[in-house]
Assembly symmetry: C2
Homo-oligomer: 148 residues x 2
Amino acid sequence: MAEFEIDPRILSGSEPLARLKLCDARLGNDARWPWIILIPRKPGAREIEHLAPKDRAQLMEEAVIAGHAVRAMGAALGRPVEKLNIGALGNVVPQLHAHVVGRRADDAAWPGPVWNLPGATAYEPAALARAKAAALDLLQSAALKAAS
Amino acid sequence: MAEFEIDPRILSGSEPLARLKLCDARLGNDARWPWIILIPRKPGAREIEHLAPKDRAQLMEEAVIAGHAVRAMGAALGRPVEKLNIGALGNVVPQLHAHVVGRRADDAAWPGPVWNLPGATAYEPAALARAKAAALDLLQSAALKAAS
């Protein structure tokens, strides 16, 4: 069986956050939006249909948890999230992954989508630490709840 | 309880296809991409977290079925789908809805996302009929399987 590895293009644009039941959760390193990327640990999967139905349901639940974490990130950064955007595209990086992004009517792409926009902006170290802590807090309490 | 109604902005850009267990499925009327819109019949829902977990799992299954239907549409139009894009955004129309879109490396937006792009192109009537028949065939056989 092939080993699970995350595509280097995902790795280079994101920071590790947490290992959920199905997915590795990573923080998208673009300070324009609170953003979490979920990568199911299923080597070779490129489309959602490549997951078994129970894993698809789990991906959905992890996307909901990631949505809460994205809201926590937005709040920690002083920019509360007004709308979640969830997408699985894979046009650039074929490895199956899902994006959960926090949007606001005053953000850099509203109301258009965020994907493939030029101008990614690295976080200030202090802001990154705040965003990470807020996301982790939420993801870890969700993981504890799931395990109890 | 509020009645289920589809936002007029969704209605005006799409054609009715089928009533699935959770969602109304509609064909996105933009000939640039085979496209299905799923609208859960849950009045007031704006985010996926507003659905109960079993409905979230059902939405995921209907997105997978819609993906097969989008592939069937692409094949019927002589432009086989190479990648599915699935997204729930709601920045323009807040009513919860999910998009399932068939992409090709030679399409009008590749590798960027399709949402909010100007230039929507109406189908020729014959092509629309072919696309609709191919999608319906798939959606009805999935509905029959689910009921059996």
